[in-house]
Symmetry: C2
């Protein structure tokens, strides 16, 4: 089927490519000298980490399982990582770096059209999270449960993505392309729409939803919601204040 021919995204976000960058960033703590060998083994270690952690959680994944799954010994493992938490930072750092790099470099023909720019962000974020799915799931699920430094990094990354979206929305409001009451809140609501694709990937796969279909779904929902002056028609406070007087029965 020759699926692999000319698929730059899949290749640029392959485990090997990402591990090459990880090796560069962590040369001092990785004791193996030969780069080819180091990248190959690092890729197997990190691949195993992602697979096992996304199944059972990082904390529940033992170094013995990791050794077994990556075809190394306990000792061999420790020529690549100097502690288990360090393995976590390696992965988190790489996700953060790649995400930032990709999202902050929109193509020129998109920058000054808010509609196109928002569409580009949606498509790019979703496709990137598809190509790096285990990495994104790992970062999302494990970020909360580890050292303060990494935790803060995850929060910052979330804030950055949101700011990028908010900036585009503001630009669109200024140019008349969008009509939005609360830009920051709206930007916050767009993020989970992008995240759902990888957080609940299994659900969409089982249901047969294609990535193009999902991107269109999010894009259409948002352009319908933001495009025209569908103003808050007095129902606002009604909705907010209408608390059920009674609940089911609990």
């Amino acid at each position: 089927m020759n699926l692999a021919r000319r698929r730059p995204w899949t290749n640029a976000f392959s485990t090997e490519a990402l591990c090459t960058r990880i090796l560069e960033r962590h040369r001092d703590s990785i004791r193996v000298q030969k780069p080819r060998l180091a990248v190959a083994n690092l890729a197997r270690i990190i691949g195993a980490t992602l697979t096992l952690s996304n199944k059972q959680g990082f904390h529940a994944t033992t170094l013995r399982q990791l050794a077994e799954a990556s075809g190394l010994s306990m000792g061999g493992l420790y020529t690549y990582i100097d502690s288990k938490p360090r393995l976590l930072s390696m992965i988190l750092d790489e996700v953060a770096a790649t995400t930032t790099e990709v999202l902050t470099a929109p193509p020129d023909d998109v920058r000054d059209d808010a509609h196109k720019h928002l569409d580009w962000i949606i498509a790019t974020h979703i496709r990137m999270s598809e190509a790096m799915q285990p990495w994104f799931v790992f970062a999302f699920m494990e970020a909360k449960s580890f050292p303060p430094a990494e935790r803060q990094r995850a929060i910052d990354m979330e804030a950055m993505t949101e700011k990028i979206i908010a900036d585009v929305l503001r630009q669109g409001v200024a140019s008349g392309a969008f009509t939005i009451d609360h830009v920051k809140l709206t930007a916050s609501l767009i993020k989970p729409l992008l995240q759902d694709w990888y957080v609940k990937r299994a659900k969409y796969r089982k249901r047969g939803t294609s990535i193009d279909g999902y991107i269109d779904g999010v894009g259409n929902l948002l352009s319908a919601a933001l495009s025209n002056g569908n103003r808050t028609n007095g129902r606002t406070s009604a909705r907010a204040r209408a608390r059920p007087k009674q609940m089911a029965h609990p």
Copy 2:
């Protein structure tokens, strides 16, 4: 300030109320006889479980920490639970049961107006997740990492919520209230909007977003997106197919 006066939601979803139901459901495995005592200690155990697990993960939470935090001893703990995984099922079961009960019982004056019904689901789900925030966070974050039975239960619960939403959307399309291309996909996209409130509660708290503001934000976004015939104007496949030819650089 007398905040507690007449707050039925807060009371009905209090740890005590929920633990009373848990006790009923697990009478056979809880060896303490006196109900008042059992509920009180169960509440402290489960409260501690939620607090600690949401900070560091359920797996990383040890029974010694749990004993300390709930004011019991190791042995004391084991008169209430017969294993650590069982503690997880207790919590998951209770969240599932309560959610199902509440969402499947909309008030009569809402049933036959799709707009009002959707607004009711949004407000109810968000308020319930606010009142039971630690429980919802726990269920969301830990569901993936434990036994197949509980895992399936979480998937089923997600599917149920989605089905309820999809039914309302379909009803709205039939009555002309909504215009929606893909009902199932749209229903899938609404869920993460509801979940974001509790998954990222800290972010919204720090930012000063009120629950009413959030409910309005989601409600307005959706009613703008679904209400009028903002049809797919030929840009659909453009968006989907427009893959970046080149990426940032990685």
